[in-house]
């Protein structure tokens, strides 16, 4: 039993030998005829080899047919055409006189056999797909005219669903109607047809199972029923889809077109809802397009209601600026800045916004600020630390509207400079440590709405000024520095002096 099964399974392998070899023999005959070359020996050899392989193919084919999984009529045709091919090929080998004619007949028989074989394996409409036909017994018992009315295009379906979730009351009659469908006819059957029929239908009944009509589906296969209505977890048809692809019981078998997760979901839903062949189900399936999606009849919350921006909500100003489009900086300008020792770096491969750093500038002069101004709105961070920047230089910076971080620590600026800083609408951080800023200057910052952090260590500001600033900008974080440690046995940090 095992051996015959095994030989039967060799059939798909062996059939290709006679096809190739006999066709080659035929090609050699044509070659000899038209090119006037002497290759008789080769032709004989090819025919002999082809005939022998044809016998083996037929024999294994016969074993395979014994499994009874194939449509008897189709097997009959294929079997006798195959045997005929083997006989004619032997004849062509032995009867040299009419070899050309016999070989031609062999090749014709070969092709017909091959075609029948293909039908057996892949289904009759594999080569020339027929128009989708639904067995009559599966037609729903609802007036088909009404069905036509309810048919809507996938796009309409999608938009209808979107609308119901947002605007249309789900209980209006129209919406309800549009959202019903015949799950078996419209969803399950197309999947069966596409992915299961090739092995489980009239032509081929693997595992004794046919899935092409309601009765056969209910009947099940060798191992009995394939589903329990209402209980997908107890239904072998569903479970076999869930098994890992390597598993012997996984369906469809490894190498065949697999079910998509959406298609599996369709089976789950169908069985769960009672596996009815006729009843309407409240389910949508857009199977006319390749994209398959199950949309349940539930109002979908498209987006959470927007709440007012709360006081503590901190906006990422810099992040928002970086999202905006900006054109690239001219390479000549970059090169020019580089020659002036101004370091320019970017915010990423796809960003044209820039960070400008004066760390390498040895001899600072106002003219360098003018160079930076040429970059315009591309400048997001500017670092002028430890340079003798004057108040008038800062005035010029007002043109750089996108600056979010400004480093002015240890520069020569005074309160006057801060008057112009308030013109930077996007400023988030400003470092003023080690400057001569006083409370007066600090007050100017009160209008910088987006300011998050101010560094004021080693300035002339006082607690009073900081308190005033905090009154206007309650969320601003002031770094006063001067931190010293408490002795190890206490915990709090405190300010120096």
């Amino acid at each position: 039993m095992f051996l015959t099964d095994f030989f039967g399974r060799l059939h798909p392998l062996l059939v290709h030998l006679p096809i190739g070899i006999l066709l080659f023999a035929f090609a050699l005959i044509l070659f000899q005829r038209f090119q006037k070359v002497e290759v008789d020996v080769a032709i004989s050899f090819a025919l002999l080899l082809g005939s022998i392989s044809a016998v083996f193919a037929s024999a294994t084919g016969w074993f395979l047919a014994q499994s009874g999984e194939y449509d008897a009529d189709l097997v009959f045709q294929h079997q006798w055409m195959g045997i005929g091919t083997a006989i004619f090929s032997f004849a062509a080998y032995f009867i040299k006189r009419i070899r050309d004619i016999l070989t031609t007949i062999t090749v014709c028989a070969l092709m017909v056999t091959g075609h029948f074989g293909g039908n057996l394996t892949h289904g009759e409409d594999y080569l020339f797909p027929k128009k989708k036909s639904v067995p009559l017994s599966l037609m729903p018992t609802i007036d088909s005219m009404q069905q036509e009315v309810l048919k809507v295009s996938p796009a309409e379906l999608a938009s209808a669903n979107l609308k119901t979730s947002v605007q249309i009351q789900p209980n209006t009659e129209k919406a309800q109607r549009r959202k019903t469908s015949f799950i078996f006819r419209d969803a399950v059957l197309p999947i069966l047809e596409k992915k299961c029929f090739s092995c489980h239908s009239a032509t081929k009944k693997k595992g004794g199972l046919r899935l092409d009509t309601e009765e056969f589906i209910l009947l099940g296969g060798k191992n009995g029923a394939i589903f329990t209505a209402g209980n997908p977890e107890n239904s072998s048809i569903y479970l076999s889809m869930l098994l890992p692809e390597d598993d012997d019981n996984h369906m469809p078998p490894k190498g065949k077109p697999q079910l998509t997760p959406q298609e599996i979901a369709v089976f789950h839903q169908w069985i769960k809802e009672g596996a009815s062949f006729r009843e309407e189900m409240k389910i949508f399936l857009d199977h006319q397009e390749e994209k398959k999606e199950v949309i349940e009849n539930k109002p979908v919350i498209v987006s959470a209601p927007k709440t007012a921006v709360s006081q503590t909500f901190v906006q990422d100003v810099e992040g928002n600026i970086l999202k905006n489009k900006m054109d690239a900086v001219a390479p000549s300008l970059l090169n020019h800045l580089k020659q002036q020792n101004i370091t320019v770096s970017n915010f990423g491969t796809n960003s044209n916004y820039l960070m400008v750093n004066f760390v390498n500038v040895k001899e600072y002069r106002s003219a360098l600020i003018d160079e930076v101004l040429k970059l315009g709105d591309k400048v997001v961070r500017l670092r002028l630390s430890q340079q003798p920047v004057s108040d008038s230089d800062i005035k010029k910076l007002s043109a750089l509207k996108n600056i979010t971080r400004l480093n002015l620590e240890k520069t020569a600026i005074t309160d006057l400079a801060l008057k112009d800083i308030k013109n930077l609408p996007n400023l988030e951080q400003i470092n003023l440590y080690g400057t001569n800023i006083t409370d007066n200057g600090l007050l100017e910052l009160a209008n910088c709405d987006h300011l998050k952090v101010v560094f004021l260590w080693q300035t002339k500001t006082t607690a009073k000024g900081i308190e005033q600033l905090k009154r206007s900008l309650p969320n601003v974080q002031v770094e006063l520095g001067g931190l010293q440690f408490a002795k190890p046995d206490t915990i709090k940090t405190k300010n120096l002096d």
């Binding site: 970017n346 990423g348 390498n360 480093n407 620590e409 520095g481």
Partner: protein, 476 residues
């Protein structure tokens, strides 16, 4: 067909083989020559907006005991002296140093723990200064590594491979992001130690490997001569040095005209860099102008060149000058025995300067775009190595879990990530592999670790090899 013509066109085996050898050679040569060009042109970093622009890596070499510093395990005290349950140890290999031990008695930490800061971060009593920066700390308790001995583990952490011959983290960053300050190297290295006879460190840890040589970490030594061979030799003054460099550059340029060898441009650049460093390095490393309170902040050791405290101060000065990657190594955490007394000493060396560095960066506004990392190469075990007494025990290497902390740009403040089991032996939640950690730091620098590669010897290499996931939970 004419027989002579036929002869001329004949491609015999010998002709084919000799012809194809040259052809194949030429193809290979093209590959070799193009390699570097392609990479340089493709390299457009950062990939996305960086949170951190600079890094200070406070590497604690020798593996600090997480159980005595960060990872509080009251259960170990409860079960003091009892055997480590086999179910916890599992199939874990231990080093040759404790493999022979018949018993693995649990050793709870001798030190008291408490929670500090808004994030209720657990810290040991031997880290009194860390307690004061708890609000800045992001502690990862679930670091784990693959190596069990110092050299492979440090190499793994630094280069992403246990075997070495790969570029150090800092070299990768230098290669990818370059330096903002053209007068100082992008990757600076500072060494310190607590005792003589500590686990040694090797220059391969800050080596550039296959990356261009200018990305090698530059070791700053303590004392008058921070970088070897940087000073002009006796009898050569500044001006003759300048003349010499100019003449050398001219010769190099002549050669470039003939050979179009781009490496020579790199050579000129390195000579110029060294020349600039002759003034910039002594200037930057000069701490004599620092006010007294700075030394109070970092601790009195900060006045002692070559100490960890002094190196922390130098790290701040380098970062202030926009150096990209400052790597400190502090040796001596390898407490196989006498752990309580030894680790107290180490903690004392490291505690105040590390915390001071955070405060100092913070008040200067540098912590906004500088990332500080503190941690070792692996952890230490929960059972005693050697004899366990009430106040003395030792701990062997433990790669399965250990703690590090980060602070500064882009990481959560006052935050603890990951959980270990009651024995501090296995990770039970949110593990962070070395490659994950590397990927995360790269991410903070605006680099996608998977896209940041260098092709050499026929394959693309990256710091995280073929693994690594960004730990999004620790990002601010």
């Amino acid at each position: 067909m004419n027989i002579f013509e036929e002869y001329n066109h004949k491609m015999n085996r010998r002709n084919f083989l000799s012809g194809s050898v040259l052809g194949l050679g030429a193809t290979a040569l093209c590959g070799l020559m193009n390699d570097n060009n392609v990479i340089y042109n493709d390299l457009q970093l950062p990939h996305f907006a960086p949170k951190a622009k600079r890094i200070i890596y406070l590497f604690q070499s020798g593996a600090p005991s997480q159980l005595d510093l960060f990872d509080y395990k009251p259960k170990l005290k409860e079960m003091f002296g009892q055997e480590l349950p086999a179910s916890i140890r599992g199939e874990q290999r231990v080093t040759g140093m404790t493999a022979h031990q018949k018993s693995f008695p649990l050793a709870g930490s001798k030190f008291n723990f408490a929670q500090y800061g808004k994030g209720r971060i657990w810290l040991s009593e031997i880290l009194p200064y860390h307690q004061q920066i708890a609000d800045e700390m992001c502690v990862i308790k679930t670091m784990h590594t693959e190596a069990i001995n110092h050299d492979p583990a440090v190499t793994f952490l630094q280069t992403g491979s246990q075997q070495g011959a790969r570029p150090s983290f800092g070299s990768w960053v230098s290669y990818g992001l370059g330096s903002e300050n053209k007068n100082l190297p992008a990757f600076c290295v500072l060494l310190s130690r607590s005792n003589n006879g500590d686990q040694p460190l090797y220059a391969k840890l800050w080596n550039n490997a296959f990356l261009p040589s200018e990305h090698q970490g530059v070791l700053f030594r303590s004392g008058d001569d921070p970088i070897l061979y940087l000073k002009d030799p006796k009898g050569i003054d500044k001006f003759s040095r300048r003349d010499m460099l100019d003449a050398l550059a001219k010769l190099h340029k002549l050669e470039i005209e003939q050979t179009l060898d781009d490496d020579l441009n790199g050579k000129i650049a390195q000579y110029e860099m060294a020349y600039r460093m002759q003034t910039s390095v002594p200037e930057t490393l000069d701490v004599s102008k620092e006010p007294d309170w700075v030394f109070d902040l970092y601790g009195k050791n900060a006045r002692k060149p070559g100490s960890y405290a002094a190196n922390c101060l130098l790290a701040r000065k380098l970062i202030e000058n926009d150096v990209r990657f400052v790597q400190l190594y502090h040796q001596g955490w390898d407490q196989h025995g006498n752990l309580p007394s030894e680790i107290s000493k180490l903690a004392k060396d490291v505690d105040q300067p590390s915390a001071a560095l955070i405060l100092d960066l913070k008040q200067r506004g540098l912590l906004e775009d500088t990332l500080v990392v503190w941690g070792g190469e692996f952890g230490r075990g929960c059972y005693s190595q050697g004899k366990l007494t009430v106040d003395n025990y030792g701990r062997d290497h433990h790669p399965r879990c250990y703690s590090i902390w980060m602070a500064g740009a882009g990481v959560k403040k006052g935050f603890t990530y990951g959980e270990t089991d009651d024995f501090g032996y296995n990770i039970i939640k949110d593990s962070v592999h070395i490659h994950d950690y590397q990927a995360t730091v790269m991410h903070l620098l605006g680099i996608d670790h998977e896209r940041f590669t260098f092709k050499t010897q026929g394959r693309r290499y990256r710091l995280t090899d073929v693994a690594g996931k960004v730990v999004k939970s620790v990002l601010a």
